[in-house]
Symmetry: D4
């Protein structure tokens, strides 16, 4: 470890104090090996890296995936197009792609999916966003329970699933149009609900603003919201919450 090396050299006189100070100041921050950042990086590396594929050129993406493949790092690519997948597949064989969630991944480490995250959607058109959330959470080690098409316009569908939903450590509620699902769920169960507005709808839905505002203004307690269509973000934080339970023995 570099920081230790410097101190050792100072100790044995190979490095003057003056030069040590200079070196320390010029070193890139992460190379100082501070626990806080390193620990963080280690944790994230354990789970793998994340790449937003949308808007990246093929060459750029191929280079990134090759780099990680060579270093045995798992990678989760989000918002990937089929074309991007096909370009990368020519170079890296075992890359996988899911049409629905547009997730492109390279996962070689084996592990168990633990805990329990319930993912609910208002309609069937919200499923692609829900799947991005689900597959993100699964990629990082969570078990996921899918409960789709239980929107509030037919409240009985949702009521019949309350017990299942309640059993999760964390709930992701995905809804477009009026976006009322997360609020109704949060009123029925006492677990954290991560709300995902989708851009499903037309006219005054304003590409998801309507659903977003509904969720931010919910009267029910226990809701927090992510960006419109941000299934990945919801899956990531739900996994963090779920892992707190998985990894804990009560403190």
């Amino acid at each position: 470890m570099e920081l230790e090396d410097i101190l050792k050299k100072v100790k044995i006189g190979e490095l003057s104090i003056e030069d040590a100070v200079k070196t320390l100041k010029k070193m890139p921050y992460e190379e100082l090996g501070f626990a806080k950042l390193d620990h963080h990086r280690k944790v994230r590396k354990g789970y793998g890296e994340v790449i937003l594929c949308e808007g990246k050129s093929k060459d750029h993406l191929i280079n990134i995936f090759k780099h990680f493949a060579e270093n045995d790092v798992d990678v989760l690519g989000t918002r990937a197009s089929k074309e991007q997948f096909e370009s990368i597949k020519e170079i890296i064989e075992n890359v996988e792609y899911d049409d629905l969630s547009r997730i492109l991944k390279l996962k070689r480490s084996s592990y168990k999916n633990l805990g329990n995250i319930a993912i609910c959607t208002g309609g069937t058109s919200d499923i692609p966003v829900a799947e991005e959330a689900a597959q993100t959470a699964e990629f990082f080690g969570s078990k996921v329970l899918r409960i789709y098409d239980v929107g509030v316009a037919g409240i009985h569908r949702l009521l019949s699933k309350v017990d299942e939903i309640s059993s999760a450590n964390c709930i992701i509620a995905v809804a477009g149009m009026e976006g009322a699902l997360p609020g109704v769920i949060a009123g029925m169960v006492d677990k954290p609900v991560i709300a995902v507005p989708t851009s499903v709808g037309y006219g005054t839905n304003f590409n998801g603003i309507s659903s977003l505002l509904t969720m931010l203004n919910s009267c029910a307690e226990g809701i927090a919201v992510v960006n419109i269509d941000n299934g990945f973000g919801a899956g990531y934080i739900a996994n963090q919450i779920n892992q707190l339970v998985v990894n804990s023995n009560g403190k």
Copy 2:
């Protein structure tokens, strides 16, 4: 009737055709006695006149109320302040005021309240707007069923009232914050739902925009929406719908 008079005078030669044409062109439209407009005025007069009090000076208001009082016309004043009420009361004794709904009225005709309009609110803070709707509908002859504080954050409260709500000819659903109530009700009953967004809330409620958008984007069928805090508008159209049933024998 004036139009007939003109024709009669033409017939008996008291008025030349040239002059008749001129007269007809100059007459104010409503004096032509077209059934469509007259009928409408009669219908409205039957119910009484409506005055938006907010923003009107005391003198202006007193004149209006005196004019109607002298002509035995019932008057419904909306968004009236207590000060306005007190000024008018000094002149016109039997004027009535309701603090909650801010309705100021002068009603001397007696009648029966018929049919059935259910008015629901999400919370207790939505009640002033709901009362404006209720008292408007009552003023124009409807029977009103009040079902307050049944917001979707505690869905069981609403579920226990579904039968009562279903029995109405028309439902007014009043909600602020996330505004999900009308959509959930419309998913449970098959009657027209008039949705009233309120400005109750803070932050991203944006003085009622959040609730308005929720209602406009509802996935449930059978909802139409009025302006933010417009209890009067909802009460008026709900009364129109209810009167269709009251006055009808099936066509």
Copy 3:
């Protein structure tokens, strides 16, 4: 009926009270046979089911339509593309499609169109939305009177139609650009007006926001508004209002 079966088994001792409680709690809500929900479902089934086709995959849509066709349920599909229609037609012969309103339907029950809904548009470009409303109302059993291209920029066109419009139980007023039509109609007739803003226009029309705001702020009484371009929603609630008259004997 399931709920009764349980009670019978309790009565004859085939089911312990403890197990009965457990069973009741686990049963999906709608299977409890509560009148309110069942009644609602029956009513809706009587009219047929509604599917928003936009954004649904061909396979998904074909499955839905096959399911309903096999169960002899009438189906109304909205915002369908010609491609969707052609895919479904290959499987289900008697499905019908209307280019203008983009309505795709399967209707085998025969019935009479009753009552009277007047549908007015400001311009000719608003007709597709108006037709969605008209054909929705007709699908559910209403008689529709079409009065198109009577915008307020040439007020005489509208004035000559006031009698016809007044004769309806409910009016749907469809308008883009400035969206003033519903307010002017509501000022002339005393029937509920369902206002539909369209996205017809450019610049500060903001895809229908201008027309929407005009309608929400109308000075005339008796207007309620649906989402931008939501002809279906207007047709559905107008039909509910019209059916109140058709089915009623005055209460």
Copy 4:
């Protein structure tokens, strides 16, 4: 005249060419006496000066009015408070104030009000803005015809005034809430209509945005719009249009 003086001095050798160039470059632009700007200033001075009083301190305002009073210039102050008026009145006796329009003026030149501008309002709450327009146009020499409270929710009121409105050279149409008045007027008469949205209304009126958008999107030809509540601006441009007629012999 200064420019001529410089040239004369150059001619008689009192000023070297080098110095003349330097002088010309340093002179404030308006002192160069360019016809375009000077003419403009003269024209404006003929009509008097305009001061937006809102937001100006008493001392500042008093100084301005004193300066103009001493130079015999007519002054029109807009959006003045009663307090501002009272402070100025102590110094300058013949200053006048109108409570309704909040116009504060000092007018000593005498003249005839010519031509014809019709000013219409939708409701009685729009009158203060209309009066600002009317008194501005009168200040600058136009004759004004006031036609108030003829909003489109009761279209017969407007229809009975069409002939009077048509006779004007230019129409100012002032409306809040839905703001449909200018479009309906422009559909009936063939004169330029200056539309003034007011902030009268609540909820989705958004302090006049609703009326503004209606006016900008009007389907009728012959409308142009000024800022929300900008009666002054409408009165000014309407006067310019009216003066074109007053001053012209046809070109």
Copy 5:
């Protein structure tokens, strides 16, 4: 004339008063021959009819143009595509199209272009909108002076044209991006300025909102604004203003 015919028949006893009243009430408004509307129609017919082509089907457009061609009415089509032009040309030979302004017209009446409208643009990208304004004004009989690319970022270009601009009866100022041109012009000349915001720009231009707001908030007097990119609307009202001068002898 029909109104007279009815009166004549009443006079000679061919029509009972009762039937006459009935007939008058059922007649379309414009057939009553009220001077106000007829005059308006005549005036507009004199100038020709206007059609917004955008969003209209080829068949619909061809029918409209054929109808007018057969009745010898001049027609101005705005926002027409080249495809629309080519379809119509196959049927009606002497229809003309301008690529830049997207104006499609059929003009057989001959007339003189009189008066003077100055049309200025901020940049070269604003020219299509300016041409729509120019050709509209010319179609209706105005003489137009084009002064393009004189935006305020290089103020000297504008300053050198002030005299020419001042000589017009009315000025149309067209600008995108920051939209400051109309305000600067109105500060320099004392004629009505019709401001046209264009959607030229990117980012926070928000498709013309930035320019629109600049124009509505201008500190200079004598500006009124039309919808974003609405060259037609500006050309129409500017022509109305210009014709006031052309047709007048001072009143």
Copy 6:
């Protein structure tokens, strides 16, 4: 328990099956004793009830507090004014109020604050919102670590606290103006971050919209957002997350 009673009566023949079905259908939903809802209520009761005081009348609030006091339920009132506190205090002695967070509470049950929630603010003006979050989390049983005034404009302040922040189970990051704090924290620690935008700022902060958007768009993983100034909502969900750890033994 009622449901059991009904079943018992059915069993012993005291209640016919027909009547039992009827009774079950009419019973308010929550009285059916469904585990899901009851459990939820019990859990919430365990923690106490929550009242939004803002906008509630004194009488209304006093009644609510008296009711809970008599039933030995802990109560948390949010957004309470000092006046509201003083009114209630006259009736219920041991009610407590905190000026900064505007929290009004009645807490008689004793318990231990466990786990660890870190609450960070960008500036000192964000502290009232942070305190609402902190005291809410403490009310429901969490231990809270306050780390205030560590905004990103002086990043070294935040860096020196990373270890402390990392040690929490959940982080609440509160920030106004540009709202960048949550994103920077989420980039440094691998725990769920609940972001609270505040309305602190001026101009384009738009009362918190700027901060809200920043948080919703954060590039860092592991953030979810609540309504502007909604400290209570953040404290509630953070407590839910923290309790998951406290109550768990790893599953």
Copy 7:
């Protein structure tokens, strides 16, 4: 210096390498004495500290000012109220306050104001914001040239000042309403222009949004914009630019 102390102790064996690593990791970042941050702090201290007074309690403010007074640090307080000034003055005698700019300052170091910043405003109502900019720039050592009330509605006023404006190293252009001033200035001079939109105006000015958008969309090159009414921000960055010149010898 601490970092050196640690290294020295390592060298002489007073501190084990293991403990040194631990210590380094726990030390607050700024105590590591990295040149980049320290240098920055020193530079800023040289100029003095800045406090946003708005929204801070009197006690809080007094403590801050006392702390700086005791440490001989100059302080610039922005958006201070007169009440805040008076409270502080009781404790710290030589604190100064300016009513117009609402700047509250404590400056005991003496220095020369160097370089040249020109500050222009469109109107007289923009002066308070301009003064905040001017006095900020002066506080940090710049010489300021004030050129007020030169808005583009009377372009000749601005033209006569071009030479003076051109002579500055940096220009601050402050404008409300339409906000066109910065663009016109940037078109005339080749120095960086810092544009400050103000909230001066009404209606569609939307509290400064109109001016902000105008400035962001300017066609002229060499403009950058700060928050609405943010005179301080403009003064600060203009001073940074001016000091680059003052401190430089050309590189």
Copy 8:
């Protein structure tokens, strides 16, 4: 020089004073040879001309480039498409194009790039905008240091570059999504930071509005902002600032 010629002719009597005045008034402003404008034009010519290519036709662009090529003027074209480049290349051989920044240029003058501008981006998707800034600054004579992909979600990347960034005369910080980078940089270095929001992101990024608002609301001192995606504008003003240092000797 023309102005001098006129004066000379006046002096020697070849031009009457009357005619000289007339000539001076009619001359285009820039031909008066005022130092301020001429100097400005000269300065700009020295650097070359700038053309916004987007939205310009090929013919129009070719003419412009030919004109400048024949006059030996350097030209910088922004937002050019590859197609535009290829059309121009056929006519003017040595024109150059950069795919990433979409800059099309013609530069024949040779010069040294001096001073130092640091350009930072939050992510790799912001690079096209950053390159537009970089190549603009280089075109006008500045030396540029590129520091890409140092977004705040991984703050250690940025921290390791602080010394390099601090060494520049001016910093351009380019960021999309949450847009926090400029604020964090301004908190660490004491040089002017020009912030460029990009439209990189989705959902509530609203095509760059989120990043724009973040930058305008930054708590850090020393930031000014340009339009969304306006790399050119940032490069231009940063070059102006940098040239102040390059050209100065301290004043």
